[in-house]
């Protein structure tokens, strides 16, 4: 018996021998009990390994991340008119996941979900009095926020690099929302999800204005700054929400 015998016995076990080679080996096995015993040992080893060795299943979070990465994207309207189109961009609170750290980036990513909303469905048109518009908008923002919470894999872009996130957004929008890395402020994926909606503000919008409201139990902050209208929605307390708003879009004089 030699090393080559093991090789042929393994090939027989693996059903990789052609007919002639298999037949020749079968004849030898019939004539050589030691060889047959060797075959039985190799089979026992193979069976033990196959039965007991761990097959590592892909972790759920890896699968979720890859499914999200490969999911069909929602595209923004092609002929977007800055005055009439509202692109809703909830910026998820930054999440630190162990595997992200392993990917070599900073721990915190800016996580974005983008949903293009038909402006007509929102009753958005010029001439609506400011107060009712604001109420409708806050209500719609809360609805969008709760819908986003129901989505299994709401993360469209997971990156700690704003040079990844910003181009992703600008490819889908006709304006550029601010992209901020909140790692230094200690934001982590936790109990509270904060949705941040951004749209170009109307020409008549007062710069630096801010309104706080509570809609169906959610705290809502609406703020206009630098030609963009922001809406922050969360079940986090108003102070926390305000702190986040200040990080994303610092009001002049603050």
């Amino acid at each position: 018996m030699n090393n080559d015998d093991d090789l042929w016995l393994d090939a027989l076990l693996d059903d990789e021998l052609d007919g002639a080679a298999s037949l020749a080996l079968q004849r030898r096995l019939a004539a050589e009990p030691a060889l047959q015993k060797r075959l039985d040992e190799r089979r026992a080893l193979r069976d033990a390994v196959r039965a007991q060795a761990t097959r590592h299943a892909a972790p759920a979070q890896l699968r979720a991340h890859l499914e999200a990465m490969l999911a069909p994207r929602v595209s923004a309207p092609a002929s977007a008119d800055a005055g009439a189109t509202r692109a809703r961009v909830p910026l998820r609170r930054a999440a630190a996941r162990p595997w992200m750290a392993a990917f070599g980036g900073a721990c915190v990513a800016t996580l974005c979900t983008l949903v293009a909303v038909d402006p007509a469905a929102l009753g958005w048109h010029r001439g609506v009095v400011a107060a009712s518009l604001q109420a409708a908008e806050a209500s719609e923002a809360v609805s969008a926020h709760t819908r986003a919470l129901l989505v299994d894999h709401p993360i469209e872009v997971a990156s700690s690099d704003q040079h990844t996130v910003r181009p992703w957004l600008s490819a889908r929008l006709n304006f550029v929302p601010p992209v901020v890395d909140l790692a230094a402020q200690g934001y982590r994926h936790g109990a509270h999800v904060i949705s941040v909606f951004v749209r170009p503000a109307g020409s008549d919008a007062a710069n630096g204005s801010e309104a706080l409201s509570v809609v169906r139990g959610f705290n809502v902050i609406e703020r206009t700054q630098g030609g963009l209208a922001f809406c922050f929605v969360s079940d986090a307390n108003p102070h926390e929400l305000q702190a986040l708003a200040d990080l994303v879009t610092p009001l002049a004089g603050k």
Binding site: M1, L7, L45, V49, A53, M69, L70, G104
Partner: protein, 177 residues
């Protein structure tokens, strides 16, 4: 990439995610690093999906995972992938271990002992064993994935199994006494 192509890619590749992770996990021997490798491999695979000409996507994907794992190890733990030729030759040239009756008691080896024995194999033998015993791929597919001739696959697999038998024998003996 166009969404249609991305959709076809997802449909081809995601069903084999467990196999991809299993291979990466056995090659880099760390759960977090394996996720890193799989993520990297899928990005590479997506980029080269145009080059996939149909057929079974699993060997195609596993070849990319394997290359990603070797690239990852080469950059971070080069000692694990630079298997010296003489060591490999020595591994292949060792004579057959004599058949002991105790070998059959390998059946009794604990899962963790078998896992440890596989993890301790030099990577060239380890990948052959994992692809054959855990993924149940043919010699031809293993040859494609590991980029060596079929004869080399046979040698490495056989030698890997002999090394496993040697590693597990003391446990088997202890289990008997």
């Amino acid at each position: 990439m166009h969404d249609d192509a991305q959709g076809r890619f997802a449909a081809s590749v995601l069903p084999h995610l467990d196999a991809a992770y299993n291979l990466a996990r056995w090659l880099v021997r760390d759960a977090h690093d394996a996720q890193d490798v799989v993520q990297d491999a899928l990005v590479r695979a997506l980029r080269h999906f145009d080059g996939f000409r149909g057929g079974d996507p699993r060997p195609w994907l596993l070849a990319i995972v394997r290359n990603a794992a070797f690239a990852w190890l080469g950059a971070r733990r080069p000692g694990e992938v630079e298997l010296p030729d003489d060591e490999l030759d020595a591994g292949l040239a060792l004579g057959a271990t004599p058949g002991d009756p105790e070998t059959l008691a390998i059946r009794r080896a604990e899962r963790r002992e078998i896992d440890a024995a596989i993890a301790a194999l030099p990577i060239a033998f380890r990948e052959a064993v994992v692809l054959r015993e855990l993924e149940e791929l043919s010699y031809r597919d293993i040859a494609r994935i590991t980029d060596v001739p079929i004869g080399t696959v046979m040698s490495r697999l056989s030698r890997g199994r002999s090394l496993l038998a040697d590693a597990l024998r003391p446990h088997a003996l202890r289990a008997l006494t």
